[in-house]
């Protein structure tokens, strides 16, 4: 990203905050990975390692009353929306204090009070749902926006296309994104679609699209902010393709031997945290000692969260029976 543009268009404090969330995201996920390897987390662990800039960038561009339906590698978005590291780790450990109180695991967290729609494993399922949230905003004449996405593989599903079409037809205040990290589990993009750029798909729905460098938090932030403003102004949906690379396996049990090592080497130097640090140094916003200090703070927060989560109680077996149906007071006003 052009430093002059960044200096002019992004407030220094916003940029520094994004940097701290990049560090916090990585710390949280490193801890979760470690807990997984120690056998303390059961189930799947899907990280955003090397892709942190996407969630941090777009979530920083939204207003607090906007709604997001994150992709399953968007840990940064949860943190920015106020999910504490303790809550997140409790969720992974299946504890009573996690956002789903043990009913669901890992990144399947949601909370309408914090404007986060809970992830559904069936990829792209939440894209029509986000379109519907935007429809509610439009019907009620509210200046709110929904922001939802999936991966490159998820764009093959019908729900992706039905959501894109419906949102475009009704000019809904929604922004859709695709985290194109080049592999859907083990399947490369070339076996997923006959086009190189996912953004091509937007054209078919009469929707503007943009390719964004997904490893540049400033670029993600600015592109998201533009799309969000358009949506808020009633100009309809935009599709953003965040280009990036999945640096770990699909989940932590997957060694990803199907990914050529050179490709990973090539992307390693584009690490979003290193890039953010270079940018901050060039702009004179931060130096090595500052970065170290932010990193230490993040680690401390994560360690406190880990302790909280580990000391939290597990749910009782009979909790299984609670919550199949909602009561009237749980309906959103």
């Amino acid at each position: 990203m052009d430093q002059a543009v960044v200096a002019q268009d992004i407030k220094r404090s916003d940029l520094l905050k994004m940097y701290s969330y990049l560090r916090l995201t990585r710390s949280v996920e490193d801890r979760i990975t470690a807990l997984y390897r120690q056998g303390r987390i059961v189930g799947g662990v899907y990280t955003s390692h090397g892709m942190e800039a996407i969630a941090v960038g777009y979530a920083s561009a939204l207003n607090p009353d906007d709604v997001i339906a994150p992709f399953h590698r968007d840990m940064g978005a949860f943190l920015i929306r106020g999910f504490s590291p303790g809550e997140v780790i409790a969720q992974y450990l299946g504890k009573q204090t996690g956002p789903t109180r043990g009913k669901d695991g890992n990144v399947h967290m949601g909370d309408l009070k914090r404007g986060v729609i809970g992830f559904v494993s069936h990829l792209a399922d939440n894209m029509p749902v986000a379109a519907g949230a935007a429809l509610a905003f439009k019907i009620r004449g509210e200046a709110r926006v929904a922001f939802a996405g999936t991966g490159d593989g998820g764009t093959s599903r019908g729900d992706f296309h039905e959501a894109m079409n419906f949102a475009a037809v009704r000019k809904l205040p929604v922004v859709f994104f695709c985290t194109n990290n080049q592999y859907a589990y083990s399947t490369p993009v070339r076996y997923q679609m006959a086009i190189t750029d996912v953004v091509e798909r937007a054209k078919a729905y009469g929707m503007p699209g943009e390719i964004v460098d997904g490893n540049d938090v400033a670029a993600v932030y600015l592109a998201s902010r533009r799309a969000i403003s358009k949506a808020r102004a009633g100009e309809g949906p935009t599709f953003l393709e965040f280009k990036t690379m999945r640096m770990h396996g699909h989940s932590e049990h997957d060694a990803a031997t199907y990914v050529p090592r050179e490709l990973l080497e090539e992307w390693k130097i584009k690490d979003p945290i290193l890039r953010a640090e270079r940018l901050l140094m060039h702009l004179g916003y931060g130096d090595e000692s500052y970065f170290h200090e932010v990193g230490e703070r993040a680690k401390k927060e994560v360690e406190a969260g880990t302790e909280f989560a580990e000391q939290s109680p597990l749910p009782e077996g009979r909790e299984t029976l609670v919550g199949v149906f909602a009561t009237e007071d749980e309906v959103q006003p």
Binding site: V67, P99, T100, K103, D104, H108, M109, G110, D111, L112, I117, G118, V120, H122, D125, N126, M127, P128, V129, A130, A131, G132, A133, A134, L135, A136, F137, K138, I139, R140, A146, G158, D159, E162, A163, N165, F166, V169, R170, G323, V324, F325, A326, T327, E328, E330, V331, Q332, P333
Partner: protein
Amino acid sequence: MTTATAVQETETTYVDAISQALDEEMSRDERVFLMGEDIGAYGGAFKVTQGFLKKYGEWRVLDTPISESGFVGAAIGAAMMGLRPVVEMQFADFISCAFDQITEVAAKNHYRWGAAVPLVIRAPFGGGVHGGPFHSECPEGWFFHSPGLKIVAPSTPYDAKGLLKAAIRDPNPVLYFEHKFLYRRIKAVLPQEEYIVPIGKAEVKRPGKDISLITYGAMVHLALEAAEVLHQEGIDLEVVDLRTLIPLDKDTIYASVRKTSKAIVLHEDNKTGGIGAEISALLTEDCFDCLDGPILRIAPPDTPVPFSTPLEEFFLPKVSDIIAGARKLAAY
């Protein structure tokens, strides 16, 4: 004219009862809005929403693309934001396109992360209208197995109106199966005053002492007809109209079977793994000591709903099937 002539009591059809419920709820609560294919200018494939577009405008009577999964998903999103969407499936058969959104998203959201989804999906179902395999299905059995959904299936104009109003006011996803064979064949005088029929309550549509016939939807009318005939023969059928399939009103079912000691379950959905199978299993588990005969299921064979008239007639349960079944069970 403003004379004090008594208002003549007019009869309301089943389909008009549904329209009335929608109209009343939309007037009462501005959060209620409709989505579906061809429901706006055209007024819906069965004209349930005729005139609604003019009255409520295009953002409350929303024509959608042919995109069941997409618009059910959108309705879920709108419901989570606090609106009260009522989605029309043009035919219940097409609900399969939205199966994933209904069972994975709508049904599980509250259980997983506490998000209420106050959503109604209206689904015109059932045969007897020469619709063939894609316009006659009874798909309620698929959803009967999916925790987190409520399912209702009214048999009369009174229940159709009252249950739809209750469904719209419910904070959960409710599948509302309306029987299209009944749309214009069944009429009744409805109360002038506002009422709802609570979800989860079955109704004994005809009391009897010999055999409990448990059913719902259009089959209720066949059951009542058969009960008349059997009455002449001294077999006294009690017709239990489930009205709600989830949550099932076990109390009413059990009370009836404890009285009669014999039960027939009748439905239009395919026989295997259907609602009849579940009720039969429940009765064996919970009322075994009161049974004085096997529990009988009367339901179509395990085939798609065929098109040609003699085939469809063969497929659908008939009054004569009920009579034959009841006679056998009475003689047992």
